[in-house]
């Protein structure tokens, strides 16, 4: 039995998987808040949260409860529809992004033939949400943050796409599962060694795409207070927060899939390798956040247009030539 070309079985699979992905996103946010706070505490030579629960493990859950219970303060003269749409729009599309991710050999929601295109297309929604949030909230800091978010997001998407395309060229497939299958189990057969430039570009752009320090200019705490989400409180803020961590998780999974061999590992392939690699990338993002100062906005765009973009085009060209010869 089929509904518009999709069998009932796979439809049920998709629904179950989406629910699992929602659970993953929420659990991930809780885990990452704890990891980030403990990690920053470790870097800054302080204990971090330790009071709530054993070693402060319930701190993140308590914070979530606090945000749920907080009053939603809506400032005067906001665009009501867009103001409330923006946090939802930031959070929901991330769900679709997890569909093509191969967590394990059999743990994939849907083996989408053009998975890369799906990810890159839906990733743009987060940008739109930031723009709407800044625009609708009737705040000058918000509109400045929204402007920054758009020009940064648009700029950094291009080298990101080109870096991923280099891997796609090499594999000859846009299916993420096939990209993982094309890589070997041993670490030296993963893509980051034969595509070092693409890996480097991707690492830089993933920080910029997730609006994390040192590229957190749309939020730019020291000049824009909180940028596009200045006027959001309670769950509005929590959804942006959740979306940020979900985006981090997504780019880390994509990084693991494209460059770090996905679910393949030196011993015993399986979904645990995907998670280990993704969380290693996440820790990398946390680490640089607490180490580096923020770049200035024009410097940020200069890095992209003058360095990353030519480099990624060059890398793509070299990849194409090498594939043609070999």
């Amino acid at each position: 039995m089929e509904i518009s070309g999709i069998s009932i079985l796979s439809l049920v699979t998709i629904i179950v998987a989406c629910l699992l992905v929602i659970a993953l996103m929420v659990v991930n946010a809780l885990v990452m808040v704890y990891v980030e706070r403990k990690g920053s505490g470790f870097i800054q030579r302080r204990p971090g949260p330790y009071e709530v629960g054993p070693w402060g493990t319930i701190q993140a859950a308590c914070d979530a409860m606090k945000l749920l219970a907080k009053e939603l303060f809506v400032p005067a003269n906001v665009d009501f529809f867009l103001y409330f749409l923006a946090p939802v729009l930031a959070f929901l599309p991330v769900l679709a992004l997890f569909i093509p991710i191969p967590f394990g050999p059999f743990l994939t929601t849907l083996k989408v033939p053009d998975g890369v295109v799906l990810i890159l297309a839906f990733a743009g929604f987060g940008l739109l949400a930031n723009l709407l949030a800044g625009y609708a909230s009737n705040n000058k800091y918000g509109i400045l943050g929204a402007g920054r978010a758009v020009s940064q997001g648009v700029a950094y998407e291009i080298p990101m796409i080109l870096a991923l395309l280099a891997v796609v060229f090499q594999t000859g497939s846009m299916n993420l599962s096939e990209i993982v299958e094309a890589q070997g189990s041993a670490p030296w057969r993963w893509n980051f060694l034969c595509q070092p430039i693409a890996f480097f570009i991707y690492l830089v752009t993933l920080v910029a795409e997730t609006n994390r320090a040192p590229f957190d200019l749309p939020e730019g705490e020291s000049e824009l207070t909180a940028g596009f989400h200045t006027e959001y409180s309670g769950m509005g803020f929590a959804l942006f927060f959740l979306a940020e961590y979900a985006n981090m998780l997504l780019v880390s999974f994509v990084c693991a899939t494209f460059f770090l061999g996905g679910y393949k590992g030196p011993i015993l392939d399986g979904f645990w390798w995907t998670f280990i690699k993704a969380y290693a990338v996440m820790w990398f993002i946390v680490w640089i956040r607490w180490t580096f100062p923020r770049v200035r906005f024009d410097q940020l765009l200069n890095i992209n247009w003058k360095w990353l973009l030519p480099l990624s085009i060059l890398n793509l060209w070299i990849t194409a030539v090498v594939i043609k010869i070999v």
């Binding site: 800054q44 005067a76 009737n138 020291s222 000049e223 100062p293 923020r294 200035r296």
Partner: protein, 397 residues
């Protein structure tokens, strides 16, 4: 009734008369060009570090004009001086500038001593130098952390506070407090340093030198930080002198002016130290000058701890709380962490001084901002504001 229009959620902001700004923002908006955004930074803003308010006119992200607005932390210290006895006003000095309490202690105490002709004993002079230099280091450390925080690096401020904790512990042994220190008395100091005090200092000096090396490797040599500082916010000597800026600002502009060297007070002429003068007058110059001053202050403390003689810490028959200043006036300048602190005391021989004028270095340093920030990007303007090392309570007094 007109105040209500601002709170009315259905009001259109662009309609004239519906947006009720205060006097300052309305006055500032009069000169704005059409289409530019007027942005109000503060009084509550993460990077004004206190209750400073700056109104800026933005074209895109470029700052066309800016105007600092003061007075949100005015506590009328100068007026209080006219109602307290000279001795009773001493605790206020720790509260004018919470980061550099000892500097203010010194300026006021010395101004009164000059008027009354009191000479503090030798050991007290050494203790004064040790306390003042340690306080300068603590102040620069806090500035360093907060400035780098303005540039978006979250970690260094906690490292800086970690080191400052040492200084707080050391100064707590003699002053009794960790922040609003009230150590100096007319004719000496309040308490003598014990063995633990000196051994803590001897431990701290090599530790701090190691930490400075780490700061250089971690922060000063970071490429992002260098790009954010070098060539940003140049302030030449002419600009600084026109506005009366002092301290690290003017030394970064290439003027070797430091009260400790140019008009030596206390016993500063007995120590071997340099006044760092930066070859570049941008943000990095000011950063470099302050970091160098930390190591120069360490040198002074090291020498003072070695040479400190035994003896009294306060003169015999030191002024009592009800002591009356003799009639006359006196002016005394010391080099604080932020620049030249100058106290002008006028007395008519009554119970309390007739007038006490406090010259805060931050006030003059802040007035440079509007001109220096003109034409920079907002993020750079914030960096320039941070590089001035402002302590708002000191500016508002």
């Amino acid at each position: 009734m007109s105040n209500f229009t601002f709170l009315n959620p259905f009001a259109v902001l662009d309609e004239p008369g519906t947006y009720m700004g205060d006097f300052f923002s309305n006055n500032f908006a009069k000169k704005a060009q059409a289409g530019n955004v007027i942005l109000n930074l503060g009084p509550q803003h993460p990077s004004t570090h206190g209750v400073l308010r700056v109104i800026v006119e933005l074209y895109g992200e470029y700052v066309l004009r800016s105007e600092p607005i003061l007075g949100y932390l005015h506590r009328s210290h100068e007026k209080m001086a006219e109602h307290k006895t000279a001795y009773g006003f001493l605790p206020n000095m720790g509260r004018v500038d919470y980061l550099n309490a000892i500097g203010w202690n010194w300026a006021y105490t010395a101004a009164c001593e000059q008027l009354a002709g009191i000479e503090p004993p030798e050991r007290a002079e050494y203790l004064r130098v040790i306390a003042a230099e340690l306080n300068r280091i603590a102040s620069h450390l806090v500035w360093w952390g907060a400035f780098v925080l303005d540039l978006g690096a979250f970690t260094p401020i906690l490292y800086a506070f970690d080191d400052r904790e040492w200084i707080c512990d050391i100064l707590q042994r003699v002053t009794g407090s960790r922040l609003t220190m009230n150590y100096f008395r007319f004719g000496g100091v309040g308490a003598d340093g014990d063995d633990r005090f000196f051994s803590l200092i001897r431990e701290f000096i090599p530790l701090m030198r190691e930490r400075l090396k780490m700061y250089k490797a971690l922060v000063t040599d970071n490429v992002i930080l260098r790009r954010r500082l070098e060539g940003i916010g140049p302030m030449d000597a002419d600009l600084c002198l026109r506005y009366g800026a002092t301290g690290p600002l003017v030394r970064a502009a290439g003027v070797p002016r430091d009260v400790r060297k140019s008009v030596p007070y206390g016993i500063y002429d007995r120590f071997d130290y340099n006044i760092p003068v930066s070859p570049v007058n941008d943000n990095f110059g000011r950063y470099w000058v302050r970091m160098e001053e930390i190591s120069e202050s360490l040198k002074i403390v090291e020498q003072a701890v070695e040479r400190i003689p035994p003896g009294k810490i306060i003169v015999d028959k030191a002024p009592k709380p009800a002591w009356k200043l003799p009639p006359g006036e006196s002016v005394y300048s010391v080099e604080g962490a932020r620049g030249e602190i100058c106290v002008h005391v006028i007395s008519d021989g009554g119970k309390s001084p007739y007038r006490v004028k406090l010259r805060a270095p931050g006030f003059s340093n802040l007035s440079v901002f509007a001109e220096a920030a003109q034409g920079t990007i907002l993020a750079d303007a914030i960096a320039i504001l941070g590089s001035l090392d402002l302590v708002i309570p000191e500016i508002d007094r």
